[in-house]
């Protein structure tokens, strides 16, 4: 990794943490989402006569991002849910200027000795899947339960009117499709019309919606303990069923939709979520949000395809998303809406 980046990061952290002798070592890029570059490094310093070495993560904006996301929102979400006791890394520093490292970034704690489930794997969790699944849906329920004002996130982007948050999200993702589609998308357009014609019931409450709660966005250890919920970059206010619909989307089920997220049976997952969220589940409303989830997926994949095809961001993940994931969600939506 560039020594220049190491030195500049070292200078920045020494300044903001007030530790003149802070040393940055072993800076290396790791996979970590398409909207930010993610790096792992060690920070070494002396505090009160004690030598400290700590694993940290740098998340820096891409030169071109898949979906424009607000790093301040992501940082604040990490801070709020870390403080609430959820498995979320401790945020360390947020820099919104471009002077220090060319682009805005933030630094957070590294959760060590963990792994992430790959959506390319047919069985990412092996014998740990049920233990992980119970935590996965319990933690999602805890996010839904959190009072947005009490945790200091009441001003996040989104819609606070329970009767309108569905429309806010449909408008948002239709705009993305309008701006980014390179070829006409008849299934996405049909889904948008369906969502508007079949409006869902009001939200049971307004929650923080993680926005991308799924396989690949959390870390677990060798004992099956869920240690970190990551990638809060699309966090916003809205209907908590939005996150639930996304989490149980077939794309993340590793080939077995009866076990959402490739973990536990659907009924058990929904039961755990209801218990932890304190929200009584309206199955008709959830069905609407499941259609929405696949439409939202299409919008994201259409954006990824555009970034790649236009040469603005040729990360192979964008090609994969813009092709495999797009065809997957087209089939899900065509089968579901075509059967109605």
């Amino acid at each position: 990794m560039s020594d220049d980046l190491t030195e500049r990061l070292e200078a920045y952290l020494s300044n903001v943490m007030g530790i003149p002798d802070l040393e940055v070592a072993n800076l290396s890029r790791i996979p970590g989402g398409a909207s930010r570059e993610t790096y792992r490094f060690r920070a070494r310093y002396n505090r009160g006569g004690t030598e400290i070495e700590r694993g940290l993560i740098l998340r820096r904006d891409q030169t071109a991002s898949l979906i424009e996301t607000d790093r301040a929102t992501e940082f604040r979400a990490y801070r709020a849910f870390h403080a609430l006791g959820l498995p979320v890394p401790e945020p360390i520093a947020l820099e919104e200027g471009s002077e220090a490292l060319d682009r805005p970034f933030f630094v957070m704690e590294e959760i060590e000795n963990c792994q992430v489930g790959s959506i390319l794997s047919s069985d990412p969790y092996g014998p740990l899947r049920e233990k992980i699944g119970r935590q996965f849906f319990a933690n999602l329920g805890r996010i839904a339960r959190a009072d947005v004002d009490e945790i200091g996130l009441g001003d996040l982007e989104g819609e606070r009117d329970p009767t309108k948050c569905w429309l806010h999200e449909v408008d948002r993702w239709e705009k993305v499709i309008d701006e980014d589609e390179r070829e006409p998308q008849p299934i996405a357009r049909a889904a948008l019309r369906w969502l508007r014609r079949n409006r869902p019931p009001p939200a049971p409450k307004i929650s923080v919606v993680h926005g991308d709660y799924r396989t690949g966005n959390f870390l677990y250890d060798a004992d099956g303990n869920m240690r970190a919920i990551l990638d809060w970059e699309m966090a916003h206010l809205g209907n908590p069923l939005e996150d639930l619909g996304w989490a149980i989307d077939p794309l993340w089920s590793h080939g077995d939709p009866s076990r959402p997220a490739g973990t536990i049976p659907r009924e058990e997952a929904l039961s755990i979520w209801q218990k932890e969220s304190g929200i009584r589940l309206d199955t008709a409303a959830l069905a609407w949000w499941e259609i929405f989830a696949s439409l939202k997926g299409l919008a994201i994949w259409i954006s990824a395809a555009r970034e790649y095809a236009d040469g603005r961001n040729t990360d192979p993940v964008n090609a994969f998303s813009g092709w495999y994931c797009l065809t997957f969600h087209n089939k899900i939506l065509a089968d579901r809406l075509g059967a109605a």
Binding site: P31, S118, L120, S122, E183, R189, R193, P316, F328, G338
Partner: protein, 142 residues
Amino acid sequence: MKPEADQILMFSGLKLAAEYAPQIPTQYGQGMAQVVAALMFMSAQEYDRAADIRVSENIDIRALFKLLGPQIADANLRRDLETAAAAREDSLRISALNASNEYLRKVFIRLHTYLDETDADTKPVWDVLKAMAARRTLTLPG
């Protein structure tokens, strides 16, 4: 050609995923190499079927336009359906098939929107969409 491009892509992807990627020293490099291998598997599938997918899709859409066109009250849409149904590709290059497919999809969306707005039967439209989606589905090695 022997070997064909799909076989080359498939075997090269397997080599990359199983032999070369694990030797890359960084976690980031290994992860990206696995994604590139997946793209090679997908490209291998697409090589043999790409023209067939597009030709079949265009045939289905034109047949739908022929079927439903006479029932459409909107004169402009009915005329565009007739025109699109009568058109033909003059090349089997993917770029040419894509161009006519995009034109047909635009008219298709107008037709579907019209049927939705007039509460007409949309089953024939959805049957075409389901077939389109199924043809383009990709599978990844287990």
